[in-house]
Amino acid sequence: MTFSLEIVTPDGLIYKGEAEMLSVRTADGVIGILPRHIDYVAPLGMGEAVIKTPDGTRRAACIGGMVAVHNGMVRLVATTFEWAEEIDLERAKTAEDKARSLLSRSDLSERDLKLADARLRRALVRQSVGKGR
């Protein structure tokens, strides 16, 4: 049994088709969505998304946005969504180092601190998803 899944980001439509299972990290923790889920809306956190399709399982780094289930149709509206095989590990590593060196400084304003922290977490998510491929 499958449900229809649509994944969109500002860069375009990433995936449209049938899926057997979707697992994403929401702001409250990881949830799994199976067919015939009730209508549901939750904002997304940063983490790994796993999608089980009839053709196999795919993993991705999924950051920000929301997931909505409406009448059995699942929509994943993400700020960034990168398939595990498309992640640039080197870039993520450089981003991590940069963020860490920024965080170790003490003269940062609160806003910069938050930005650097978010950057670090994004880099870590990307790396953990990218390495597991």
Binding site: V8, P10, G12, T26, P43, G64, M66, N71, V77
Partner: protein, 283 residues
């Protein structure tokens, strides 16, 4: 006399030709950038639509639900996000959008978030209150920038720093027409859907509808700003392409008329020479 003017004309033709080459090259660059910008506008649309739909559904279906983002309050200060270009030579692109923004702003209490170097320069010159100049480069627009800007705007709005947020950009109507447009971001306007409250009661919001709503707002704003930016970039390239096309054809016209003049002068010089020789032989 004929010789001097012939040389002058030749020089002018040469300089016209090099100008034409430049405008032609700029036209080509603009049209290739325009294609990319158009594709991006198209790509970002489904994202934006889905966000808006969800927001609309939540806003509609949740009764006794108050969010500061939905409530219109007395407007004491307005915040304008004005999207211009980084460079000139795009016909009336910058002038049109900035003029419209200024008409709205003049005499009111407001602050601006300029996007694009031209926009920043314009408001600096007028001495407007500039909220931030972090986003001065429209060309290197990055989705992340739009989202951080949206977060800042949402925070500023809920803390009462300003009571309305508008974005002023240039709408890409077609290759040949781009019109400045204004969009109200906050407070949010949603279209009420009659009936259909039944399905909503069953919807599960986690942790609850209000926090979902609050979390989605900045996302939505970021999406709208990104969409407007995509439109503006496409418009800029379109305007530049049209302007450069006109410049190229003007240069061609000038070259044609100058060549005609040149040839006439050359012929005149030859005729004169022959007359002089014949006159000399006869005497």
């Amino acid at each position: 006399m004929a010789g001097v003017s012939m040389k002058d004309i030749k020089l002018r033709i040469k300089s016209m030709e090099s100008t034409k080459q430049i405008t032609k090259a700029m036209e080509m660059v603009a049209s290739s950038k325009l294609r990319r910008a158009q594709a991006r506008v198209q790509n970002s649309r489904p994202y934006f639509r889905t966000l808006y739909d969800t927001l609309n559904t939540i806003a509609n279906n949740t009764e006794n639900f108050a969010s500061p983002y939905l409530e219109a309050r007395e407007v004491r200060k307005t915040c304008y996000v004005v999207i211009g270009g980084d460079r000139g030579l795009a016909g009336g692109y910058n002038a049109n959008v900035l003029k419209m923004a200024w008409e709205r702003m003049e005499g009111t209490s407001c602050c601006v978030v300029p996007i694009g170097k031209k926009s920043l320069e314009f408001f600096q010159r007028r001495g407007s209150e500039i909220l931030t100049d972090l986003y001065a480069e429209a060309g290197d627009d990055h989705v992340g920038d739009c989202f951080s800007m949206a977060k800042m705007l949402a925070a500023g709005y809920s803390s009462g720093e300003f009571d309305e947020v508008h974005v002023i950009y240039t709408e890409f109507v077609s290759m040949l027409a781009q019109t400045p447009a204004s969009l109200k971001l906050l407070p949010l306007e949603y279209t009420p859907m009659p009936g259909d409250t039944e399905s909503a009661c069953e919807t599960l919001y986690e942790p609850d509808s209000e926090s979902v709503f609050e979390a989605i707002i900045p996302e939505y704003l970021g999406g709208v700003i990104y969409g407007a930016l995509c439109e503006a970039v496409a418009s800029e390239q379109g305007a530049r392409r049209t302007a450069m096309e006109a410049a190229t054809s003007n240069a061609e016209d000038m070259i044609a008329s100058l060549s005609l003049k040149y040839n006439r002068a050359r012929q005149g010089a030859i005729t004169q020479e022959i007359t002089e020789i014949v006159a000399g032989a006869e005497t």
